[in-house]
């Protein structure tokens, strides 16, 4: 410390920068030749390349930056990093508006637009600053005690009022125009933090050849080395950092991610980080993402995230101009900015005196140094006094003065007399807290280190090590040494040969520090949590009311719950609670830090998956034809299915669907049913396997035949239904419903790999290989005769109902033909290799032309299945048994299968259970709707009167009326009875007659012709 130059610089501020009156004449890491114009609240200002918004504002003498959350007190810039609680602004405008952006982290770019928030009408004159006058009322938790009368006023009056006042900035009100990216990265050693410890660790690990990722939240690498006047091996710290960075960049297996925040630590070496790829630009370059979310997997991690300085708790400590002492040094040394014309230092450590020295070195005026310790090293005192500064030891700052910014401090000396000292800047140095946030993410609690009066990492998850200031080792020498050692150890643990070099010589420093958790007698409100306006008096109140456990304190006062997660406030709150309860700080404990370390844009997490790309869209093989022909599609799971194919002159969807159904019932239609799951089951024990997974018997199914299949869950309810076709002696093809295809495959694999591994079964999903088309209607066979190659006899005799066979189409293209029907018509399903799906569809349309073929979609398909009383997704909803759906009779009696026992539970065999029936409106013009509940005609609506529910409805072209199927108590016994379909959410109450669920061709004559 004493080695630092103390002489006053010749010209305190830049002579050429009249527009940046607080910019020093020289020095700093900014580029003075690259001015950057920006605006704050519409005011045009200029900064330099290399500035943050905060440093540029300070360079322009702007101290008032925002208004506080609750009391709307004027606030300025407290810090120079990601811990900033006060200087939050709205950045950019329109669809790119970003509320609550830390001015200390926003890299200045040409044209930057910033607006202050949470004020009206202006930052300087804020109407709600009246809240500050009401602060005696607005103590912690006051709202739990009032606003209760009258009850209805909460939503109408009190809450809207509170909500409007709360909330800081305004979110954008249009969709985010930028793109976000994701990337995965893997490494041996992950180093978190680009300060001296992190750089040392990365160098030690990187030199060994290990794959290293260095993550640093700053845009310039070096951490505190950029902010301090320090020496390493005879060079300046900043130069050392630059050399380290250059070497790291030259190592092929080292990746440096700057402008990147490691925000979360997850299980098993997984980490989340967000890279602000384009936030330092007005608009991202073409094709470039705004931000990229990195998912990093690391074998080892070195935490070198540094430390955060602690404010003092005294009256008016939130006034613009009061700053952390380290931040003052950052503005002086890195940005070449004097944070005030006349600065005072309030310190409890030797570290604070470093700020005094740097102020002088930068040409600033030092008004005073107030040290809470009774004695300070004489050399330090001499330095300050030589510069004309008032020095007070064993005293404290009790209060501050100033309107919208600091104009004076009120100092209490060792004799309790109050002295007012004029100054426009105050630097607070009350010790540093290691950043223990990340190592807490895996539920590890930090432990108290009495030597440094701070929490340090406790037991870390295996593979993780903390170094440097993050481990409570604050001296530069310790940072370099512990970083290098940890980096080498991590690389060695990954199998590399790493050596550590001797730690270079650093200039001496003193860590002497006796924290003052709060001043004894503050003058005015003494803030603990700046952003949430939690004062020391609120902690006292929480204590008085029994909210003494640290989590209760946090929740009652909102201490540490603001956007900074209490980075500068938590310990102050704990220490006051410790004092009030007579405990020591570690007994009070600490709250759990949660990810993310700093807030992360929601868009970054979502990445590519938004809008139409939220989830994949699956296309059916006939999609191109359908599009060409004006099809209307419908989302069905991930599939985009053709719903109906409107033709000219049709006025609405119902017109079209009726025409499609009538055409199928009278002539022929074709429908893409590729979305069904298709599973090839082969193997010696294929049949035994099918017998165990299906509830109905298959032992008698011959080769060349297909059968309806019901699968139950082990709890006895229906899992899915489909068909199983026996294509060969040991070769079956099973279909599953569109919605359940993946679930059924997983279930079959479970049975094969876990339950019955003794069975020789091979499963292969062929859902994607085959395009499958239902060709249905009286002319289906005629149509298919022109598709299936001539060698195959598909006559009714040779290929009867439920037949299946391998055939060829189009002159030798292999295909599968199944004579199965969902529509109740003479129908086939033809499967062709998917590449020929488009061709086959066009060929079928052409082949069916003479018979008046129509394409039909899922709507017509659904109408026809309802006309036939076939259950589908609305009935097979995970709450129904086979018996409920009228399938009880087909279940096997003499075999064990999944779900056999549980389906016999009393509730499932209760004769009063709602079961499947059909419904017809008594007034044939009435429209039915699914979701209506059934009530007796004379029943008053009540839960007790509920007899069941309509599950599916359709307008039946065959019956010229709406029809429905549904579940109703004792349905099959009640055909002919009338009940109400009660649908109050759509204002309907319709009398319906219970009937058979099979409305069309109940004798199934059409199927077999």
């Amino acid at each position: 410390m004493t080695t630092l130059a103390l002489q006053r610089a010749e010209a305190p501020v830049s002579a050429t920068s009249a527009d940046q009156p607080f910019r020093t004449a020289a020095g700093g890491l900014i580029d003075r030749n690259r001015p950057r114009d920006f605006t704050f609240d519409g005011r045009r200002l200029t900064g330099c390349h290399g500035d943050t918004l905060a440093s540029a504002l300070l360079a322009n003498g702007v101290r008032l930056v925002g208004r506080s959350f609750k009391y709307h007190r004027p606030r300025g810039i407290l810090s120079a990093g990601s811990e900033e609680p006060n200087a939050l602004v709205e950045l950019r405008s329109g669809a790119r508006r970003e509320p609550n952006t830390r001015a200390t982290m926003a890299e200045l770019y040409e044209g930057l637009e910033a607006t202050s928030q949470n004020r009206w009408p202006t930052l300087a004159v804020d109407a709600l600053s009246v809240n500050a006058l009401l602060s005696p009322v607005f103590a912690a938790g006051f709202y739990y005690k009032t606003f209760m009368w009258p009850a209805a006023f909460w939503e109408k009056l009190y809450e809207p009022m509170i909500r409007r006042a709360a909330g800081l900035g305004r979110a954008a009100d249009a969709p985010d125009p930028d793109i976000y990216d994701h990337a995965y990265a893997h490494c041996d050693v992950l180093v978190i933090g680009g300060g001296p410890a992190g750089l040392s660790a990365a160098l030690a690990a990187g030199r060994s050849g290990a794959r290293v990722i260095l993550v640093d939240e700053d845009f310039a690498t070096g951490g505190r080395l950029l902010a301090e006047r320090r020496e390493i091996g005879g060079a300046s710290g900043a130069d050392w950092a630059a050399r380290a960075l250059a070497e790291l960049e030259s190592l092929p297996e080292v990746r440096i991610l700057s402008r990147t925040t490691l925000f979360g630590v997850y299980d098993h070496g997984a980490y989340g980080a967000v890279e602000r790829v384009s936030d330092h630009l007005a608009v991202p370059a073409a094709h470039a993402p705004r931000q990229r979310l990195w998912r990093i997997v690391a074998k080892r991690a070195v935490l070198a995230a540094g430390a955060i300085e602690r404010p003092h708790v005294f009256g008016g400590n939130d006034r613009p101009g009061v700053m952390l002492a380290g931040a003052v040094r950052t503005y002086l040394n890195r940005y070449g900015v004097l944070p005030g014309r006349r600065l005072a230092v309030f310190t409890s450590s030797d570290d604070g005196w470093r700020t005094a020295a740097d102020v002088l070195a930068a040409g600033g005026e030092l008004a005073a140094v107030i040290d809470t310790r009774p004695s300070v090293p004489p050399a330090l005192r001499r330095m300050a006094e030589a510069a004309g500064a008032r020095v007070v030891t064993g005293g404290y700052v009790a209060g501050t003065k100033g309107h919208l910014g600091l104009s004076a401090i009120q100092v209490v000396d060792g004799y309790h007399s109050v002295e007012t000292i004029a100054c426009d800047g105050l630097a607070m140095a009350n010790g540093w807290n290691p950043v223990v946030h990340l190592d807490s993410h895996l539920s590890r609690r930090p432990v108290w280190d009495e030597a440094i009066h701070a929490f340090v990492p406790g037991t870390l998850p295996s593979g993780m090590q903390a170094v440097g200031a993050a481990a409570g080792r604050f001296t530069l020498a310790e940072c370099l040494e512990s970083g290098a050692r940890a980096g080498a150890e991590a690389a060695t643990a990954c199998g590399f040969t790493a050596t550590t070099e001797a730690t270079p010589q650093t200039d001496p420093e003193s860590l002497d520090h006796t924290p003052l958790w709060r001043v004894p007698k503050p003058l005015g409100k003494a803030f603990v949590d700046f952003q949430n306006d939690v004062a020391a008096s609120d902690v006292e109140l929480a204590h008085r009311e029994g909210f003494r456990a640290v989590e209760l304190l946090k929740r009652y006062t909102t201490l540490g719950m603001a956007t900074d997660q209490g980075k500068t406030s938590n310990l102050a709150g704990l220490s006051i609670m410790a004092e009030l309860t007579g405990k020591d700080i570690p007994s009070v404990g600490t709250t759990v830090f949660r990810p993310p370390f700093t807030p992360v844009a929601i868009g970054a997490f979502a990445g590519h998956h938004r809008g139409k790309d939220f989830r994949a869209t699956r296309h059916v093989p006939s999609h191109a034809w359908a599009e060409e022909n004006g099809c209307v599609f419908v989302e069905t799971g991930l599939w985009l299915r053709p719903a109906y194919f409107p033709r000219a002159g049709e006025t609405d969807w119902l017109d079209t669907v009726v025409r499609e159904v009538e055409t199928v019932r009278a002539r022929v239609g074709v429908c893409d049913v590729t979305t069904l799951g298709k599973i090839d089951i082969q193997g010696r024990d294929a049949l035994a396997f099918i017998e165990r997974v299906c509830a109905n018997p298959f032992g008698t199914l011959p080769v060349g035949k297909a059968r309806y299949a019901v699968l139950l869950r082990e709890d006895g309810l229906i899992l899915d239904d489909g068909t199983i076709a026996r294509m060969g002696e040991t070769h079956y093809v099973m279909t599953a419903s569109t919605a359940n295809a993946a679930k059924v495959m997983q279930h079959l694999e479970f049975c094969r790999q876990w339950l019955w591994l003794e069975l020789d079964v091979q499963l292969a999903s062929v859902s994607e290989q085959w395009a499958q088309y239902a060709v249905a209607g009286p002319r289906a066979r005629d149509t298919l005769r022109r598709i299936v190659d001539p060698g195959f006899d598909i006559s009714n005799d040779a290929f009867p109902f439920l037949a299946c066979a391998d055939v060829t189409v189009g002159g030798g293209i292999p295909a599968r033909l199944f004579r199965i029907s969902f529509s109740g018509e003479l129908a086939y399903e033809l499967a062709v290799p998917a590449a020929y799906g488009d061709a086959a569809w066009r060929a079928i349309m052409q082949a069916g032309l003479p018979y008046g073929i129509t394409a039909y979609g899922s709507e017509a398909l659904s109408v026809m299945r309802i006309e036939k009383g076939h259950a589908a997704g609305a009935e097979i909803n995970g709450q129904t048994t086979a018996r409920d759906l009228g399938l009880g009779g087909m279940l096997a009696k003499k075999k064990d299968y999944i779900g056999r026992l549980m389906k016999e539970r009393p509730a499932f065999t209760d004769p009063d259970r709602p079961v499947l029936a059909g419904f017809r409106p008594v007034d044939p013009s009435a429209r039915l709707r699914a979701g209506a509940h059934f009530l007796a005609r004379d029943a008053a609506p009540s839960l007790e009167a509920d007899e069941g529910v309509m599950t599916s409805v359709a307008y039946s072209p065959s019956l010229r009326t709406w029809i429905g199927i549904g579940l109703i108590r004792r349905g099959p016994e009640r055909h002919g009875e009338r009940v109400r379909a009660y649908d109050p959410v759509r204002g309907a109450d319709i009398e319906v007659e219970i009937c058979s669920p099979v409305f069309v061709d109940p004798k199934e004559e059409k199927l077999r012709v």
């Binding site: 990216d181 094709h287 994949a616 590729t674 189009g810 002159g811 020929y836 799906g837």
Partner: protein, 209 residues
């Protein structure tokens, strides 16, 4: 097995359609400068899944080696001779790849009793990803470590990209990778590829067989 070479097409109607559909546009796209990515659509390939029957893996290996000159690689492997090869898919399961479906026509019969063979030639869309930024591109979607120390030519993975199931294998140290994606997902997969490749600049081409 489909045999396009021998099909006597009854009409010009019966033309196969690319699994990529109309999504890809040939040519140069994305950021200007030297293209970092080359995307080559692999058309007309033969694909089949082989699922070994219980306890017959050794016999399967022998027949594959003797009759087809192929070896079934271990978990996570891909064994290729030119454009023919086998890619591990699951325990006891492989994806057979050949320049055309025709080249795989003898497999089912030759492996009868040893493995269930299922044609998948139409079920997947294939793309080859190469170019100086190929690895960086795939890192945007593939959670598997593709660094040369962890993954190289002859390695394969079944995983997902952008919520879409893929099978990928590395062809050479260039690096170039082949990616197979289920046909119905091809359009969405392509949308992701374009999104991810745009910042590197990319070119699109097609090869047959």
């Amino acid at each position: 097995m489909s045999e396009p070479a021998t099909i006597q097409a009854s009409a010009s109607l019966w033309q196969p359609r690319s699994a990529w559909g109309g999504a890809p546009r040939a040519g140069r796209h994305g950021a200007p400068g030297q293209a970092g990515i080359r995307l080559t659509l692999l058309e007309g390939r033969g694909l089949a899944t082989l699922v070994a029957t219980e306890g017959n893996e050794a016999g399967l290996q022998t027949v594959l080696a003797e009759r087809f000159g192929l070896s079934a690689p271990e978990a996570g492997g891909a064994a290729f001779e030119g454009e023919r090869g086998l890619v591990w898919s699951a325990p006891g399961q492989w994806l057979a790849v050949a320049p055309s479906p025709h080249a795989l026509r003898d497999l089912p019969e030759a492996l009868r009793g040893l493995a269930a063979v299922t044609d998948q030639s139409d079920g997947r869309a294939l793309v080859r990803v190469s170019g100086p930024q190929a690895r960086a591109l795939l890192a945007k979607g593939v959670a598997v470590d593709l660094h040369p120390r962890a993954f190289g030519p002859g390695r394969a993975a079944v995983t997902s990209i952008a919520h879409i199931g893929v099978q990928l294998w590395q062809r050479d140290a260039g690096p170039s990778y082949d990616i197979a994606v289920a046909r119905s997902f091809a359009g969405s997969f392509w949308a992701w590829l374009e999104h991810a490749a745009a910042e590197f600049g990319y070119e699109v081409a097609t090869v047959q067989g």
